[in-house]
Each structure stands twice: as structure tokens, then as C-alpha cells.
Amino acid sequence: MNTDSPIIEIQNLSRRYGKLDAVNDLSLTVRAGKCYGFFGRNGAGKTTTIKCLLNLLRPDSGSARVFGLDPRKHEVAVKSRLAYVPDMVAFYPWMTVAGTLEYLASFRKHWNEDIEADLIKRFQLNPKQKTSHLSKGQRTQLALIGAICPEPELLVLDEPTSGLDPIVRREFIETVIGAYQSGDPGRRTVFVSTHLISEFEGLIDEFTIIEQGRELLTMEADAARDRFRKIRARFAQPTTQLDLSGALNVKQSGREMEILTNGNAEPLLEKLKVRSPEELRCESLSLEEIFVASDILKKAKA
């Protein structure tokens, strides 16, 4: 396969539930070897989109292609090359941890037993334990082992860390970075939907923010952190008549100001400097702050 061809290609995808547009004309492209973040609030359409990728739902219009294939027509070919960790993990309750992994492995052409043993040890899971006796965190860990051992080309994670404690979340992410990318990172693609963005910050190469089924912003993470900045200024006296047009948002409280900028931090800093602020600081927005500011971005776009 041509390495330049995208791993996931979604074009003008729409899916309605009755009158509700869950996904509305969404397009995005995930290239091989990238870690792609898919950010949105609850109900934004993230899971619906992922289900269309996996042929668990049929799109009303538009297309979703995985590895260049249509998942509706080539379901087995697509699914044998990816692994999926859903937000709600369910296993057969009567099976043990070891039995569940054996069962999952039976569907796979390839299964890395070394990674399996490593991860069971790392997560301190008891192979003889019944899955019905596992905690939510342990269930997610088991699902992650099941997703990583086949060493698939594409790992799809849907809200994988919500409801987990901070230590389990940290281990989860380290496992994705370490065990999953260990073979050939250039061919291991991750597509992760989440609203717990700060934890995935370092992992994300590129991201899309989705709101009410529509794409709000798609950018590379480094470019986004470069473009969206926050300026804090404090003056000796409350300032008035300061022309800050072009700023995304201005918050003022007495002598202090907080200004969000969209690629135009420099000229705004110049304007502020003329007023001799007591303090002037400029920092990048983290991906989470960009996500939180997306209401403002939407206004800027409109």
C-alpha cells in the first residue's frame, strides 16, 4: 500500500438520529503514523463518527474510508487491521482474564505474547480472575491489552480514559506510547476521541474539534499552540480606549487584562506596550484551553 494514502478518510459524513443531526457534513483525514485527536463535548458526535468507521452504523450520506477501503463492503479486511477500545467495555462475565485474552487472540492472525505478558504484569492483573470481578479501570486495561497485542496498524480509542483514576490514566497513555508504538512507529496510527485533552497533549500530532456534528477546527498541535496565545497585562491605572480589534476575546478586570489572540499576538503586544504596562506576559494556549475557547473560535469563524 502506498504510505502516503490516508489511513482514515472521512468525507462529508452525515448521520441523523430521527431529527437530530448527530454528525453533519464532517470531513477529516488521518495520515499514517500520526496520533490524531478527535475532541468534542459530550454529544458532539464523536462516537457516532467512530461507529461509522467501524461499520457499526451506516452513514446517511458521505463516506468514511479506512485503509482506503469502504468498511461497509470490506468489513473484515478493515477490522482485521485495526483495534478498537470503546468507552464502555464489556466482556463475557464468566470468562477469566486469561480466557478473555485467548478468546480475543483467536480472532487475530498475529498476537504478540511477550507484550501480553508484559502488560498483565505492568497492570498487575490476575490472569485467573473472572472479568465480572474486575473494576472499571481493570476492564479498560484488559481491553487495551486486547487491542495492543495484535499490533494493529490503527488503534481507535473512544473516550478511553474517562472514569479512570489519574494513575491508571497515566499508565494507559504510557502503554499506548510505549507498547503500541514499539514496533514501527511510522506505521502505527492512533485515532483517539476524548474530552480529557490535557493528558493526551504530548501524544497528539493533529486534531479536529467537533461541535454539534460539525467540524470546528482542524490543526496540527504545534501550529495551534503557536497560533493561539494568551496575553496578560497589568497597568498602573485602568486602561480605556485601547483598540484591541483583532483579538479573539478580551477580558478586563480593573487594571488587569487577558487577551486571546489568533495568530496576531505580536501587533497586539505592541499596542499594549505603548501603554507602559506594569506587567506583560504572553503564553501559548494548551490544546485543552483551545478546546475550551472553541465557543469563541466559532464566533471568530462566523
Binding site: 506510547i177 504530548g202 500530532d205 503586544l269 506583560l280 494548551s286
Partner: protein, 135 residues
Amino acid sequence: MLLQIDFKSGKPVYLQLVDQIRYAAASGGLRTGEPLPSIRPLAEELRVNRNTVAKAYAELESQGVIETIPGKGCFLKESHSPFTKSARQKILTKEIDEAVVAAHHLQVDRDAFLALVKERLDSFERKVKEKSDND
């Protein structure tokens, strides 16, 4: 050598790693022939994408700071710079310009800025000297 990432600095993550490793190499935190951390454990520890660490190492290699020995890892090279003097000055000019712009925004005036540069240079040279004295 301990590395740290700041997502709020506005600098691409891989460049932060490049800068910190170059600083460690210049100040004796990392010595010639000493191995750099392997990509995977470093990526896990910093919780960044492996590609990011790999990109930083590739950049350092192209700058001639480190070398990769297949099967053994990455090592700090002998400290002769592969660049000509003018090329080195050009790289430094860019970095100085950044500091000059920052000083301008923070309203640090010319004398204070130059004094600070001098102070930092002295501190850097003291550190290098301490390291070599300890050897």
C-alpha cells in the same frame, strides 16, 4: 540529564527537546560519548509521541550534535561544531533576536539586558569550569 516539556512556551515540542539537549551538551550535563536516553523510555516518561522524540534526535543528528550508532543508540559527538563560523553566528543571531524581542516586550532596557547577558555568560562559564574541575 533531565528534560522537561512546557506546552505553554509556544515552541514546538521537538524543538524544546533539541534546545535542552544542546544546552546539556554545552554545559556538561551530557558528555562526549555519553548515551542519550532511548526514544521509547524518554517518550513514555515525558508522555509525548515517540515520533516527537525521534524528530528531535534526527534534528540533533543533522546539526552534528549527536550521532546514532546502530544497535547501540544515540551518543553525544565530539564537541567540534560542523558549521563554519558564519553559519554558527547565524544560528546564534536568531536566538539572540528572540531574546531581544522578549526583552522589548518585558520592558527590560538595553543596559539591563546587556548586564543580564553578561551575568548569564559568567554563570554558564562557572558551571562549565566546576564540571571540568570535578573530572
